[in-house]
């Protein structure tokens, strides 16, 4: 098992290296290069020379990358140009908010998605199936930012129940306030995710229901509840676990849009602000951070899958 994890980690190394190279090179692709990104495009030559030397931009390119990478590995992602604070510090401030939103949304997605999938897979082609499939198409088709707007119109503008701009309140500090602030963003994102979950699980349930072993299970005289509950579900849930895991991984950086709708102070908002103010060290830091977490989560999902599926032997 350990060997398997180590090997998968080593396989990811080239991907991480290549991606980090891309992130680092970003700043060189910006018009005017890294210097202009700091001093602006209308700076005088002295400023430019000063910044060039301070940042070590006169050194060979590879040396610059190496320096950037090694300091990034020690957690030093540089300082934000505007906030004048270490980038990592800014990021870590936002992570809990994003995590809370991601978990809540996944929970909403599971609660909505799994029953929908099971109901429509058990009666395929029925009106229940058609209605529920329509629901998942809608959940996937309605853009989250528009759904968010509709929810704000309903719950904030019309009913005045919930704040239209959500703040981050930890569930551990004040559960009720946290719920008021997280409910709408979580519902928005969760609806979308429930569509993905429902569609995927329905498809895998349907294909499992066609499998020969289902006929075998029925021929033994198992009640339908056991045929579905013990045989079909177990097979269908194996790949489903992967999808849920990948969705969680996706949420580390993928809640950008929802955060923007509700002005929720997560990692995504930080990134948008950074792009808006052309704060390149902050942009690079955010993306690198999200990348590493995302890739590691993917690895975790793989390992988990290998662990729960008896057919896979990690040699």
């Amino acid at each position: 098992m350990t060997g398997y994890i180590v090997r998968r980690l080593l396989q990811l190394l080239p991907v991480l290296l290549l991606a980090s190279l891309g992130i680092w090179a970003m700043i060189y692709a910006v018009p005017g290069g890294p210097v202009a990104s700091i001093v602006g495009e209308n700076a005088n030559p002295e400023q430019i020379r000063e910044v060039t030397q301070r940042l070590g931009l006169d050194r060979p390119v590879l040396v610059q990358y190496w320096a950037w990478l090694t300091s990034a590995l020690t957690g030093d992602l540089g300082a934000s140009l505007h906030a004048r604070e270490p980038v990592l510090h800014l990021i870590m401030q936002r992570v809990p908010a994003t995590l809370q939103l991601g978990f809540c949304a996944t929970l909403v997605g599971l609660l909505l998605g799994i029953p929908v999938a099971i109901a429509s897979a058990i009666w395929p082609g029925s009106w229940i199936d058609r209605t529920l499939s329509g629901w998942s198409a809608l959940a996937l088709g309605v853009p989250t930012f528009w759904l968010g707007i509709l929810l704000i119109l309903l719950f904030s503008v019309e009913l005045r129940w919930l704040p239209s701009a959500s703040a981050y309140v930890s569930f551990f500090d004040s559960p009720l306030q946290a719920l008021r602030n997280t409910a709408m963003p979580a519902l928005t994102l969760g609806t979308y995710v429930s569509g993905i979950f429902a569609r995927f699980l329905r498809a895998s349930l349907l294909s499992e229901l066609k499998a020969d072993y289902v006929r075998t299970a029925r021929s033994k005289g198992l009640p339908e509840r056991d045929v579905v509950g013990r045989h079909v579900m177990r097979n269908a849930l194996l790949p489903f676990v992967t999808i849920v895991g990948l969705m969680l991984a996706n949420f580390i950086g993928g809640t950008v849009v929802t955060e923007a709708v509700f002005t929720y102070p997560g990692l995504g908002r930080l990134l948008i602000q950074a792009i808006g103010s052309r704060d390149y060290p902050l942009i690079q830091g955010c993306i690198l951070f999200i990348l590493v977490i995302y890739v590691l989560m993917n690895l975790l999902v793989d390992v988990l899958y290998a662990y729960i599926d008896p057919r896979i032997e990690y040699r």
Binding site: L10, T216, A217, S219, H231
Partner: protein
């Protein structure tokens, strides 16, 4: 006579899924008694599997069932779900075709074997584990206690099917339905499974319905037979009667179109045409368009004949002219207008072999780890030598995983040879560069097993047959469209079909198209990889005859790769038997089949079910233990020694040489080669 366990009357099953009603079973009657094996035989689409699903109430919701099925006095067609559920597992056990998919891949075997009984409340969950182990032991699973906790992928195919038998037997049902239980298995493994099934049936006294397309299996196991065609039972009777005195033209045709392992040399008499599709069932007698007797008689096209008693007790035939069917021998087997080469006799050196394979090896590396280092080798082909002369057929037989297909593909240059050499017409063609290989391929062509997979679905069949000419830039030179039409007629297809797509053809027709494509470049050698394995028996005979005619006309050499020993015997001049990447015995056909010297050949031949129930009591069968080892870890010395009944200490140590045996044309690789000793048979047979 005692009350039958199962009694079926006027059973009709139709599927309504596609908007209109498609009949699958059309009014059948039969009984099954305790202690009896009823064999239901039929080709694809005959309704045999639908019948078995109807009995267990497992048909999909789109099926409409009418008539009566009474199991132990309970009417099934009108039973509610709960009654049906209680009946399954308690009164009826089922065994399905493919053991790789009938078991749930993520649950332990032991649990799957016993869970039906737990669900029925017939055993507590505490006792269940122990009972599962007992059940596995009864079907001869070695080390059942450890095996019960394993998952299906850790079992071999034969073991899985035996576990399924254990599962079906777990509730001591009065009726067992086995639907093609050995079709997916190799012949030596089939022998194991059939013997376990027969023993458990005898021990439990259960009634068994055995559904199969294989007349050999029926003759071997069944007491009574029902022959199905077009959703009806066309003939039924005791197994000896059906095989000795068939009274329906279809049964007669089926038996005549079957190649025999026990020697008959005559040309096969195929049934013309195709089995009917349920959606387009002919009027009257469903068989009349293909029937030599009824083809032109108005009554056969107008009226469906009833099943009426003929001859011996219990024998019934559904034919308007059953009496005529018995006597009319309209198309007796003609002797084969062959052989071209005197059989077996080594040709004088005057004619050098067309194909010479010398010590061919094909090894696949097993790579693992981050750096994809090679950690092992699959020795798929490990030193194969053979010769093939013009106009001659060499049969290459073996069970799955023996390397026969790999050998064929390596000869064709589709796989890289690791060692050894292949020479065609005196020229070394081993691992030629692609461009040079192209020229050689004009002279040797390959025919694939699955006619459904080997034709490009998005091209018309005319384009497919013309493809080799276009690839070699010879389309105009070799006669263009006219040549394509000629090829179509050569393989017995109409030129009006040229612009259709492969999906519009049946399996036999598609195989003909594959043959036409292979002949387009006028090759001298055809490598045929299981060319008839995917076809129904009646169609199989048509294709075999076509191949034999073409060989005679065009003086083709055939390398005929197959697992079916009867087909190989019928078509070959010489036969080579492969086991784990090597040829263990090679000889002229008659010598090999009559006087095998290698223990593996002997076991293989004894395991083949013969469609002759009369010889059942006389024949002794060697049931090999265990499964074919993985070619990645072949046993030391002689690869066969762990399963061999003659193995001694030297066999594990030293690899036997491939040497000529005295008194015949046989060469074999065995330390103890020799004719089968009666005492060994007595010891090994059960």
């Amino acid at each position: 006579m005692a009350e039958p366990i199962l009694s079926v009357r006027g059973l009709d099953v139709a599927f309504t899924g596609s908007g209109r009603s498609v009949p699958a079973v059309r009014g059948i009657d039969f009984d099954v008694h305790a202690n009896e094996v009823l064999g239901i035989v039929g080709e694809s689409g005959s309704g045999k599997s639908v019948t078995s699903l109807a009995i267990t109430g497992l048909l999909p919701a789109t099926a409409r069932v009418s008539g009566s099925i009474r199991l132990g006095g309970v009417e099934i067609t009108t039973a509610d779900r709960e009654t049906l559920r209680r009946m399954r597992g308690n009164d009826v056990g089922m065994i399905f075709q493919d053991p790789t998919t009938t078991l749930n891949p993520v649950l332990p075997i032991g649990r799957q074997v016993i869970e039906g009984q737990v669900a029925h409340g017939r055993i507590g969950s505490a006792a269940a584990a122990g009972r599962a182990i007992d059940l596995l032991r009864e079907v001869e699973i070695p080390d059942p206690a450890a095996r019960a906790g394993q998952f299906p992928h850790q079992f071999s195919g034969g073991m899985r099917q035996r576990a399924v038998i254990a599962m079906a037997m777990s509730g001591q049902p009065r009726l067992i339905i086995a639907d093609e239980p050995t079709t997916a298995l190799d012949v030596t493994v089939q022998a194991q499974v059939l013997s376990v099934l027969a023993r458990r049936q005898a021990e439990s006294g259960a009634a068994v319905i055995l559904i199969t397309h294989d007349l050999g299996v029926i003759a071997e196991v069944a007491h009574r037979v029902a022959v199905m065609y077009g959703g009806r039972i066309v003939e039924t009777g005791r197994v000896e009667e059906i095989f000795a005195r068939p009274r329906h033209p279809y049964t007669i045709g089926l038996l005549r179109s079957l190649p025999r392992i026990d020697g008959a040399e005559e040309r096969l008499v195929p049934i013309s045409g195709q089995p009917p599709a349920p959606a387009r069932m002919p009027s009257g007698c469903a068989f009349h368009p293909r029937c030599p007797i009824g083809r032109d008689r108005p009554i056969c096209a107008a009226e469906a004949p009833a099943l009426v008693a003929v001859g011996a007790e219990g024998h019934a035939s559904a034919c308007h002219f059953a009496a005529e069917a018995e006597t009319a021998d309209t198309s007796a087997r003609r002797p084969e207008p062959r052989p071209l080469t005197p059989e077996g006799a080594a040709k004088p050196a005057a004619e050098p072999p067309l194909l010479r394979v010398d010590d061919l090896r094909v090894h696949f590396p097993i790579r693992a780890g981050l750096l994809r280092r090679q950690v092992g080798t699959v020795r798929a082909v490990d030193g194969v030598s053979l010769d093939l002369r013009a106009g001659e057929t060499l049969g290459l037989v073996g069970e799955s995983g023996c390397g026969k297909t790999t050998t064929a593909r390596a000869i064709m240059g589709l796989l890289r040879a690791t060692g050894g050499s292949v020479a065609f017409d005196g020229q070394d063609i081993t691992n030629l560069p692609r461009a040079d290989m192209r020229r050689v391929r004009r002279n040797m062509q390959y025919i694939f097993q699955d006619p459904y997979a080997s034709l490009n679905p998005v091209r018309t069949v005319g384009d497919i047959v013309a493809e080799p000419l276009h690839i070699h830039g010879l389309f105009d030179q070799m006669g263009g469209e006219k040549r394509i039409a000629e090829l179509f007629e050569l393989v017995g297809l109409s030129r009006t079909m040229l612009d259709r797509f492969p999906s519009e053809f049946s399996g036999g027709q598609r195989q003909r198209i594959g043959i036409a494509r292979a002949l387009a470049l006028q090759p001298r050698l055809l490598i045929l990889d299981e060319p008839v394995a995917a076809l129904d028996v009646s169609i199989q005979a048509q294709v075999i005859n076509l191949l034999q005619d073409l060989q005679r006309e065009l003086r083709l050499a055939y390398l005929f790769v197959a697992h079916d020993l009867s087909v190989v015997r019928h078509i070959s001049d010489r036969v080579a038997v492969m086991y784990l990447g090597r040829i263990v015995e090679e000889s002229a056909k008659t010598d090999l089949y009559e006087r095998p010297t290698h223990p593996y050949t002997q076991s293989l031949l004894s395991a083949v079910p013969v469609p002759d129930p009369a010889s059942r009591s006389r024949r002794k069968r060697i049931v090999l233990q265990g499964d074919i080892p993985s070619p990645a870890r072949p046993p030391s010395g002689c690869a066969f020694h762990p399963r061999c009944f003659r193995a001694t200490e030297i066999c594990a140590r030293e690899r036997p040489a491939f040497v000529a045996q005295p008194g015949g044309t046989t060469r074999s690789a065995c330390h103890h080669a020799g004719p089968l000793d009666a005492s060994i048979l007595a010891g090994a047979a059960r």
